[in-house]
């Protein structure tokens, strides 16, 4: 978190929003479901951000069978891989150690866990190590790019193989990792007797991206898993997991909240709304009044879906969302803390916008609303700055977002 105490806006230490701090960005997210009837998934997708976000290593491990046993096997495999990487052991070496140490099923002669390791750097250098999972997909400019894989074997590995690919990613590339629960979904059903299949799953991913090229990694993973579940007739026939690594320009969200301490800066603060290069959210009644006045714009409220916890959202030209301030932000903090939005309201919408972004720049006006200090109010309203700091910390630690704070 960059905390700029003294100065907001372009004169501050923060880079202006138009030139985001992070040139390119590795967005990683995943979605998964446990095999029907199991509490735990035997697939694991874990990632670690290293070298200050310049490098991300992700592992998809699929433990043999399903349930607790599979979950333990996958968990051991994924944690070993990430621990080695953390100890500065080269990923190639880590993959080889896994091949050496994974127990092998005596009957089927396959590893107790399959794995895929993606070692992606922000400068584009990418290495992939695959053992046993469906082949990863590399999607570039809406099409599949075939990977050149070197197949490695060792006498002590028996007939098990490690496939290694190394390439230079371009901005916009997506690497899609799926467990066999995705590609084999629907197997044995009349519609898909042989299962969905890798080409069909890939075609589905491409068709969704053709429709919405800006899909977040989380959403694309969800779509693939949902479709696999559909193939299985609504009850997962195997653990279904999809993880996606996306190298791209960061999406910047500016959150404008609070009236500037000095009214002389109202105009400068309002001008942030029209700075290109980012989406904007406004939180606060007084704040939105200031922007409406300075920019000569209407704020329209939609009362169609009242919520008893959070005041209804409103709309303003050039802004994604306008909300009430203190209550909504406190609720956003609660939702982020809980890891889920139990209701659909202005706060859940704001959480969605935050999670869809990579860099979140909080532009915080520090004037204290005197009416909020009135002892007649039945609830205690936290100081805006504190709520924002809590939200920023949750975004950084739980969601690996980059956050910036500027005060006005």
């Amino acid at each position: 978190m960059v905390d700029d105490m003294n100065e907001g806006g372009p004169r501050g230490r923060c880079a202006p929003a138009t030139s985001p701090l992070v040139p390119d960005f590795i967005e990683v997210d995943h979605f998964g479901l446990a095999c029907g009837g199991e509490h735990l998934s035997g697939d694991l997708f874990h990632s670690r951000s290293l070298e200050e976000g310049n490098r991300v290593v992700s592992v998809l491990a699929d433990g043999l069978s399903s349930g607790v046993e599979a979950a333990v096997l996958a968990s051991v495999t994924a944690s070993m891989a990430l621990e080695y990487v953390e100890w500065n052991i080269d990923t190639a070496k880590a993959a080889a150690i896994l091949m050496d140490s994974l127990p092998v099923d005596p009957v089927r002669r396959i590893s107790y866990s399959t794995f895929t390791i993606v070692d992606a750097r922000r400068d584009g250098r990418t290495r992939i190590f695959e053992h046993g999972n469906p082949p990863v997909l590399l999607i570039r400019d809406g099409a599949l790019v075939p990977l050149e894989r070197t197949v490695l074997g060792q006498p002590r590995w028996g007939n098990r193989r490690l496939r290694v690919s190394e390439f230079q990613s371009s901005v916009g590339d997506r690497i899609v990792l799926c467990s066999d629960g995705v590609t084999q979904s629907g197997m044995g059903t009349p519609a898909l007797p042989l299962g969905w299949g890798e080409p069909e799953a890939a075609a589905y991913a491409l068709s969704r991206l053709a429709r919405s090229p800006d899909l977040s990694s989380r959403r694309l993973a969800e779509l693939l898993v949902d479709r696999a579940l559909w193939n299985d007739g609504g009850a997962a026939g195997d653990d279904i997991t999809c993880g996606i690594i996306h190298l791209r320009r960061p999406r910047v969200l500016q959150v404008l909240t609070g009236p500037p301490f000095d009214r002389a800066r109202d105009r400068e603060f309002a001008a942030l709304v029209d700075r290109p290069g980012s989406r904007k959210v406004v939180c606060g009644g007084t704040t939105s009044n200031i922007l409406a006045r300075e920019l000569n714009r209407e704020v329209e409220m939609d009362l169609a879906l009242p919520d008893r916890e959070v005041p209804a959202p409103s709309a303003m030209a050039g802004v994604e969302l306008v909300t009430e301030g203190c209550l909504t932000l406190a609720k956003v903090g609660q939702y982020l803390e809980a890891g889920a939005c139990p209701r659909r309201n202005a706060a859940s919408r704001l959480v969605e916008l935050l999670l869809e972004s990579d860099v979140i720049h909080f532009q915080v006006g520090t004037a204290v609303n005197e009416a909020h200090q009135d002892p007649a109010l039945p609830v205690e309203l936290d100081i805006r700055r504190n709520v924002i700091k809590r939200i920023a910390a949750l975004l950084e630690t739980r969601h690996l977002k980059k956050t910036l704070l500027s005060y006005y």
Binding site: V299, M301, R308, S314, E324, A371, H372, L377, V379
Partner: protein, 86 residues
Amino acid sequence: MEPVTVTICMGTACVVMDGSRLVLLEEHLPERLRGLVRIRGERCLDLCTRRSAALAPFVLVDGEPLANATFESIVLRIEERLAGRA
């Protein structure tokens, strides 16, 4: 006849002073007023800072502020407006 416009403040102070319920005004209108009232929300009317938060929640009935607004007091004010026009 031009409907009476009720503007409900959805600012923080008004909401915590039980103004959040007021968005359901439509359901609380007596039968005779149905169709004669237009209800809209406002992000913040800024009346708590200009007057007192103790007077929240605020609404505007045809632009006239009403403090400590309740369903009953709003209905009463709407009826006064309609009677005044007649």
